[in-house]
């Protein structure tokens, strides 16, 4: 019998670094520490405590899975970003809307205005409307090299249909820029040039930081004696190698909520449910569909920039364990502000003077924390009206995330889940499993590997079945290339979007395939 390898799941959040140790589907141990500025400090502490607590030697860890918000936070806070050269292959089209037109000024100032429009590109049919202007590209490569830029984006019209045009352009630029980090738009997004280009530019801007972070993660594990392969969680809850994450940090930007939804699925065994992750400041409500988070259909904005890359459809409401409770003549209000990590100083049960939702929950006897006598004097009417508000807000959010009016199972996870004590309207059953407070680290530990396709197919020529079969085949191949065990790969999502306003046979098909990580 094959010996089951241990998996170490880590979630590096803004406040906490959580870790879980798993053997197959069994949780051997869990630990939470504060995140440190250098990441590795908090990481090393969590991992060391976890190994010690479970009595497991570092050498028996078979693989490490990490979810992190480091990259998205860097972009939001405009820290550690690189200057980027943007090469768009589009002329004679698209010159009226150059790259980064609608970007916030502060970001444009950091990323620079190194923009090059070059001849070439494709119709939706895949035919080229103009040949790639190789002579001009050669000049562009020389100019970028002269400026000393190392982060480069190449975009082309209908690149999801003709990715080879961007690839050819990259090989020409490489002559002058052998060591640059080049992001191709077709690698990071589907149809919709501006949103795909924006995602590619964000990715390139993070490329230097991602080298540094990934290197420091790897060395932190080595320092505690773990030499197992390390994987990073991406937005859809599946894993990528550290090498891939280093090249595509954009794919890790919303792994946090995804991992908590996937962790909730694992802890309850549910395939379809609403997952309510109650933190200190916000509650994130997501929808678990066939074991994965449902994703948004419309454009998403990161740090003021619109992108079309995949993100879980999560509704965030300003409600958490640190949310401030206020009383006035007209009634009781919740937040939207929270004392956040200062709950330990400001909350009444800890001797502070700010009334929070946690104080109310303790007064109501939902759990014990701090000094309950400090809140004993709160009137019953206040307590019950605050609890009414908390439950009503969560119920409205749950209803908004449902796809139909039938009651669905609801899973409560996160440190603030203790605020909820009553049955929830719209829920067929409410689950609050063991280890719910580290659901995100569990989500990282159990992650699978995926492959995707999002491009136009010629249904006129291929037939609908033929086009779908081709799209599925490409998605499966992408999953296997990303490290999936070919025998375990399944298609989990198929979306067809016919092109409207024209009698054409082109259909945009999006397919996602996932599988288990192949053993080394």
């Amino acid at each position: 019998m094959k010996k089951t390898k241990l998996r170490l799941g880590i979630d590096v959040g803004g406040t906490n670094t959580d870790g879980v140790l798993m053997s197959g589907s069994e949780v051997l141990g869990a630990h939470k520490s504060f995140t440190t500025d250098d990441i590795s400090g908090g990481l090393i502490r969590t991992v060391s405590e976890l190994l010690q607590g479970s009595g497991v030697p570092a050498g028996s860890i078979g693989s490490v899975m990490i979810g992190t918000t480091q990259f998205v936070n860097a972009f939001l806070q405009r820290r550690h970003l690189s200057e980027v050269a943007v090469v768009r292959i589009c002329l004679p089209k698209a010159d009226g809307v150059p790259p980064m037109v609608a970007w916030p000024d502060d970001l444009r100032a950091i990323i620079g205005s190194h923009i090059y429009l070059v001849g070439g590109g494709s119709f939706y049919t895949g035919l080229e409307y103009a040949p790639l202007d190789e002579v001009e590209l050669d000049k562009v490569g020389r100019d970028i090299a002269k400026k000393g830029l190392n982060a480069i984006v190449i975009t082309a019209n209908f690149a999801p249909v003709r990715p080879d045009i961007e690839e050819r352009a990259a090989s020409i630029l490489r002559r002058h820029l052998p060591n640059a980090d080049i992001t191709l738009s077709a690698q990071v997004g589907g149809v919709g040039l501006i949103d795909r280009e924006n995602a590619a530019i964000i990715n390139a801007a993070l490329s230097q930081l991602s080298r540094k972070v990934v290197t420091s993660l790897v060395s932190a594990f080595q320092s505690v004696g773990i030499n197992a392969p390390i994987y990073i969680s991406q937005n859809d809850g599946t894993l990528i190698s550290t090498g891939y994450a280093q090249r595509f940090p954009i794919f890790t930007c919303s792994a946090g909520p995804t991992n908590s939804i996937r962790g909730a699925a694992f802890l309850t065994g549910l395939q379809e449910a609403v997952v309510v992750d109650v933190g200190g400041t916000t509650t994130d409500v997501g929808f678990l569909l066939r074991g994965f988070p449902r994703e948004t259909a419309t454009a998403n904005t990161i740090g003021g920039v619109r992108t079309n890359f995949r993100m879980p459809d999560v509704l965030s409401i300003a409600l958490g364990g640190g949310t401030v409770v206020r009383q006035s003549a007209t009634g009781v209000t919740l937040g939207p502000d929270s004392v956040g990590y200062q709950l330990k100083d400001k909350g009444m049960i800890f001797g502070g003077d700010t009334l929070t939702t946690t104080d109310i929950a303790v007064r109501a006897g939902q759990f014990s924390l701090g000094d309950r006598s400090k809140v004993a004097g709160l009137p019953d009417a206040l307590v019950s009206s605050v609890l009414d508000l908390i439950h009503a807000r969560i119920e409205v959010a749950i209803d908004q995330m449902k796809t139909n009016s039938r009651p669905v199972p609801v899973v409560l996870v996160g440190g603030g889940a203790i605020l909820v004590s009553r049955p929830l309207k719209g829920a067929s059953q409410v689950y609050q499993p063991e280890y719910a407070e580290v659901a995100n680290a569990i989500g990282a530990a159990i992650a699978l590997v995926s492959g995707r396709v999002d491009r136009l197919f010629d249904v006129g020529a291929l037939g609908r079945e033929g086009a779908l079969a081709q799209a599925k085949g490409e998605a499966i191949a992408a999953a296997v290339a990303a490290g999936a065990d070919p025998d375990s790969v399944q298609i989990v999502d198929v979306v067809e979007l016919p092109m409207t306003h024209m009698k054409s046979g082109s259909v945009q098909i999006k397919v996602r395939a996932v599988g288990e990580l192949a053993d080394e």
């Binding site: 589009c90 939706y124 501006i194 209803d399 908004q400 092109m499 306003h501």
Partner: protein, 366 residues
């Protein structure tokens, strides 16, 4: 006369254009970005009242024809728009004095303004629909005898196809066929007319309306006020022959979409959150065509139906609707000219296969 000089005005206009699109017309996002780039270059569009035009001024409609999916990939070429104007002056043998939009709802609100910003040519505050419609001939211009022919379309590679058809309906067929052959996105010149003809036929003041609608929504949000209060006060102004009603407030309980012959068909059902038996259905044929509350018609084409997010009052296109969204539906009167019998023969309910006559929203809702 007014100049469009700020990002806010451009965004207000785009948001208002989605509202007047009545669910259709395509997302004006690409046009918004084009105008922002012109603004970055220090160029501003000049919007003029029809009354400022000389009767013998020469005016043309500038429009994009094609698939929204292609527009979001190929974007818009500033050079192409300039060439459209250059070719128009050669083609018609005279200088163009002003531009006008054929369709204020959705993406086509933007192209004349974009070309106006580039060239300094004035753009007339008005259009031929006051909303969005799927066909080129569904304009007040056409109803009142202005021909879309002779006209032409052009692609970004400089291919030009001119047309002269016996009817405007045929021009629609020809132009769409040409657009397909040229990659599903072309820019064209339609409805050449004089200043006097424009004043007699256009739906006036619609660019100002887009900006005002967007401004009311934005300012209410900025001041944390209910965004519907100011918007409804603006839209419902009987002294200006404007009537608006909040038709329904609820949650989307069902949406169906399908593509038939290249067009978007569908239905959305919105449920009252406190009374399950109370529902509003809205039928979609590219645009929202008819809204019925519990089986009784409350707004029908050419009056406008707009679906907005309950919290933010963001107007939503038909493609954006999904189960669970909290929405408020507004019925809004079409311009008085659009409700005349001769107009209803071209874009009244029966032209969309609906078996009922047009009744104004203010009568349907009492």
């Amino acid at each position: 006369m007014r100049m469009i000089e700020t990002v806010q005005e451009i965004q207000d206009m785009a948001r208002g254009a989605v509202f007047l699109g009545s669910g259709g017309g395509g997302d004006p996002y690409v046009g918004e970005l084009f105008l922002r780039q012109q603004l970055n270059l220090g160029r501003h569009a000049k919007i003029v009242d029809a009354s400022e035009l000389a009767d013998d001024a020469f005016v043309i409609c500038i429009a994009g024809v094609g698939a929204p999916t292609v527009l979001v990939e190929h974007l818009v070429s500033a050079k192409t728009l300039l060439r459209v104007l250059e070719h128009a002056e050669k083609f018609y043998g005279r200088k163009v004095d002003a531009l006008i939009s054929a369709e204020i709802g959705g993406a086509n609100s933007m192209f004349p303004v974009a070309l106006g910003a580039q060239t300094g040519l004035p753009v007339v505050d008005g259009d031929g629909m006051g909303r969005a419609f799927p066909h080129l001939e569904m304009t007040t211009f056409s109803v009142y005898g202005i021909k879309t022919s002779p006209g032409f379309v052009m692609d970004d590679s400089g291919n030009v196809v001119s047309f002269e058809t016996s009817t405007d309906r045929l021009a629609e067929e020809v132009v769409r066929g040409v657009a397909t052959a040229l990659g599903a996105m072309v820019y064209g010149c339609f409805y050449p007319m004089s200043g006097a003809q424009l004043k007699a036929t256009a739906v006036l003041g619609t660019i100002s309306q887009t900006i005002e609608i967007g401004r009311h929504i934005r300012e209410a949000r900025d001041h944390c006020e209910d965004p519907f209060t100011g918007l409804m006060a603006y839209l419902n102004d009987p002294a200006k022959e404007r009537h608006a009603r909040i038709l329904f407030d609820g949650k989307i309980v069902d949406v169906t979409h399908e593509t038939r012959d290249g067009w978007h068909w569908g239905r959305v059902v919105i449920g009252n959150t406190t009374d399950e038996s109370d529902q509003l259905t809205v039928d979609i044929q590219n645009e929202f065509l008819i809204a019925k509350r519990n089986g009784r018609t409350v707004t029908v084409v050419p009056d406008l139906i707009s679906v907005l997010d309950t919290e933010t009052a963001e107007p939503l296109t038909a493609e954006m609707l999904a189960y669970g969204q909290r929405v408020r539906v507004i019925g809004y009167s079409a311009a008085p000219v659009m409700r005349r019998p001769e107009c209803l023969k071209v874009f009244g309910p029966r032209m969309f296969g609906l078996d009922e006559d047009f009744v104004p929203v203010e009568e349907l809702t009492g």
